[in-house]
């Protein structure tokens, strides 16, 4: 009977830096690349704008995964915003680890030209989370 249950699709919230990842996602759209509908983006001026509280809020509201995406280290439009992001997310991951939620949070660097990389990253994340979610539902 458990097998009859419909597959559950995860909801993923992504915070995308408007100078790189958001541009990459626009490009991915223009190139008609496909990624799951469960991935929804929130545009932020810089990945450093992402307050860890937003990530926690998204998890509380029911997101199955949250990612923060910014420019490659050294390429930040605001000079070193993404270094702050890296430290903040690393600390947050430590905290999530205590609750065994480490894999719900991801940080990745995608430049404006890397539409393909954006698709790869979000699709991998989506599929991994989906697999885990459905396994848990079955047990």
């Amino acid at each position: 009977m458990l097998q009859d249950k419909a597959e559950k699709n995860p909801e993923i919230i992504g915070f995308a830096c408007s100078y790189c990842t958001f541009k990459a996602s626009e490009m991915a759209g223009s190139l008609r690349m496909k990624y799951p509908e469960g991935v929804k983006l929130i545009q932020v001026p810089c990945s450093s704008r992402v307050d860890p509280a937003f990530v926690i809020k998204a998890i509380f509201e029911g997101a199955d995964g949250v990612f923060v995406a910014g420019c490659h280290p050294g390429d930040c439009h605001f000079i070193k915003g993404n270094y702050f992001t890296r430290r903040k997310i690393a600390a947050l991951k430590e905290m999530f680890d205590a609750f065994s939620m480490k894999d719900k949070l991801r940080l990745f660097w995608v430049s404006a030209a890397e539409a393909r990389r954006f698709i790869d990253k979000v699709t991998t994340m989506y599929n991994e989370i989906k697999e885990r979610k459905n396994v848990r539902e079955k047990n």
Partner: protein, 557 residues
């Protein structure tokens, strides 16, 4: 609050995978939503009129346009609001094309996603406040990096229009690659004379400063007033430029990357560029056997250069023609994948060359071997499906264009992006081909992708016109998305001051609170995320907006 939601069909682009009718019906039931409409093309003239009419008749104070991505038509929709006497920052764009209809195929799922995205926009727009655009003074001067044809043509235009021009060239002489070319197709003109003509135009002008043997060592500041540090032979020099044009050209592909071609091991294997320079001094027998290899360093996935370099086919044809003209009884064979003689007159030129007796063989060249009597080319004829082995006296490699050597240095100094081939990336491939993502920085010539001389000159001029449009007024408006402090909440812990990269946050010893220097604030929002007491907020991206957006994307509906 009266919100108007306008959902665009974008012809079929959105409509074919998103049920727009259902969306516009759905949002009608929301409180505060006065108008919820869908339309074929919201960006068209009637679409704009529809928005204006709704604002004026229904008294809307928030406008949500669900259409293409916010970077397209942004200014145009802002103007629509301005014309209706509504603050343009009460507009919210929701991308349901690039982020929804184009990336998924399932109509039901897409409609659901679009619903969430619009809802996020609706919730977030509720917190919008009217903002005033920040006016900044613009220095009427331009920095042009690179003194090749595109840099020179940009400098010529800008100086003619009365702008102060600083032209920076790394080499001791202006002119770039074009200076060394003896015969530029199709006019047959000498490259040096073209360059000299352009330099002559510039040198007479007072408002042009040319720095040769100069590199850029520092680049700071923001649009309108970039602080540039130049490393000149006379020492360091600082200057202020209103805008920048990057025209650092390309670097020729180095065939040593492909060792099977044996380039550099024998004098009889040369590149088209070397042929151009030394065509007259080549030592060849009376009936020379010449091989020309197309697409060396282009359309080659293995070495990470999948793009077409666009100029090398014509170069290869010219080598063949020159050989046939000089040695009537020569045997000239071109090994090609496709002949892409795309400029005007190129196809005719290709036919002429064939008529002159140049043989064209569609082939994959596997390797080149050196033998005492000549150079042996081994490969596969892809039309016959046969392997061949032939001996030649001269092999000319038609090399492509590689990204400029300084691309990474310039990209990291100026904070602009490179595309996947490591050329500079434009803001939008079709709509903004000269702009970069950074305001006031433009690209020109082959540093943004392979271009021939004519295209480079045009590209340089076009970028110059675009930059002139920015500089001419002497002032500009920039986005008002900067931080502000609520002094009642500020505890004076000074954490934001430490975090701020732009050094825009100053501490007031007397009042024991911080304040933001508006002119210096870059608008990254780092301080907002750092503040433990939520006293500092970034306009346009305040905490409650993002919180509500998260809520809207996830709440049960």
């Amino acid at each position: 609050m009266k919100t108007g939601i306008f959902i665009c069909h974008c012809g079929h682009n959105i409509k074919h995978t998103v049920n727009v009718k259902k969306l516009s019906e759905y949002f009608k039931k929301y409180p505060n939503v006065t108008v919820s409409q869908d339309y074929v093309f919201v960006c068209s003239e009637p679409g704009q009129d529809m928005i204006r009419e709704s604002i004026e008749k229904k008294g809307l104070d928030r406008v949500i346009i669900a259409s293409c991505t916010p970077s397209l038509h942004g200014e145009m929709f802002k103007d629509v609001l301005k014309k209706s006497n509504l603050n343009p920052f009460l507009l919210r764009r929701v991308s349901i094309r690039e982020h929804c209809s184009w990336v998924g195929d399932d109509v039901e799922k897409n409609t659901e996603k679009a619903k969430r995205l619009i809802l996020a926009g609706l919730y977030s727009a509720a917190h919008y406040v009217p903002l005033e655009e920040k006016r900044v003074d613009v220095t009427r001067s331009a920095l042009i990096i690179g003194g090749g044809v595109s840099g020179l043509s940009a400098a010529a235009f800008l100086s003619k229009m009365g702008m102060q021009v600083y032209l920076v060239e790394k080499e001791p002489e202006l002119g770039g690659h074009v200076r060394t070319l003896k015969n530029i197709w199709p006019a047959g003109k000498d490259g040096k004379s073209i360059i000299d003509e352009m330099i002559e135009e510039l040198t007479g002008r007072e408002n042009v400063e040319i720095f040769t043997s100069t590199t850029i060592s520092g680049f700071e500041g923001f649009f309108g007033n970039y602080e540039v540090t130049l490393d000149t032979p006379e020492g360091e020099k600082k200057l202020t430029a209103g805008g920048v044009i990057i025209a650092i050209g390309f670097s020729p592909f180095d065939p040593r990357i492909k060792p099977e071609l044996q380039y550099g091991k024998d004098d009889r294997i040369i590149t088209t560029l070397e042929f151009e320079h030394n065509a007259d001094t080549l030592q060849l027998p009376e009936k020379p056997r010449v091989a020309i290899l197309h697409c060396v360093g282009s359309r080659d996935e293995q070495i990470g250069k999948p793009y077409c370099s666009r100029v090398c086919c014509i170069n290869a044809l010219r080598v063949g023609e020159a050989m046939k003209d000089k040695y009537k009884d020569s045997y000239v064979e071109s090994f090609y994948m496709d002949v892409r003689a795309h400029p005007r007159g190129g196809e005719e030129y290709f036919e002429d060359t064939q008529e002159k007796g140049v043989l064209f063989t569609r082939a994959n060249v596997a390797e080149i071997n050196l033998s005492p009597t000549g150079i042996v080319i081994r490969g596969e004829d892809t039309l016959f499906g046969e392997t061949f082995e032939r001996e030649f006296d001269l092999v000319v490699l038609s090399i492509g264009m590689s990204p400029p050597v300084d691309n990474k240095l310039i990209a990291s100094l100026l904070k602009i992006t490179l595309d996947k081939d490591k050329f500079f990336m434009e803001a939008h491939i079709k709509l903004r081909p000269f702009d970069t993502a950074v305001k006031g920085i433009f690209i020109a010539g082959s540093c943004s992708g392979p271009k021939d001389v004519e295209e480079s000159i045009n590209h340089g001029r076009a970028s110059a016109v675009k930059l002139f449009g920015f500089l001419n007024l002497g002032y500009a408006y920039v986005d008002p998305f900067i931080s502000y402090v609520d002094p009642k909440r500020c505890s004076g812990c000074r954490m934001c001051e430490q975090a701020c990269v732009a050094k825009a946050i100053k501490y007031d010893e007397e009042k024991r609170v911080v304040h933001v220097e508006e002119a210096a604030c870059m608008g990254c929002g780092l301080c907002n995320a750092t503040c433990p007491s939520s006293a500092i907020s970034l306009k346009g991206y305040i905490d409650c907006m993002i919180d509500d957006e998260i809520g809207a994307l996830l709440e049960a509906i």
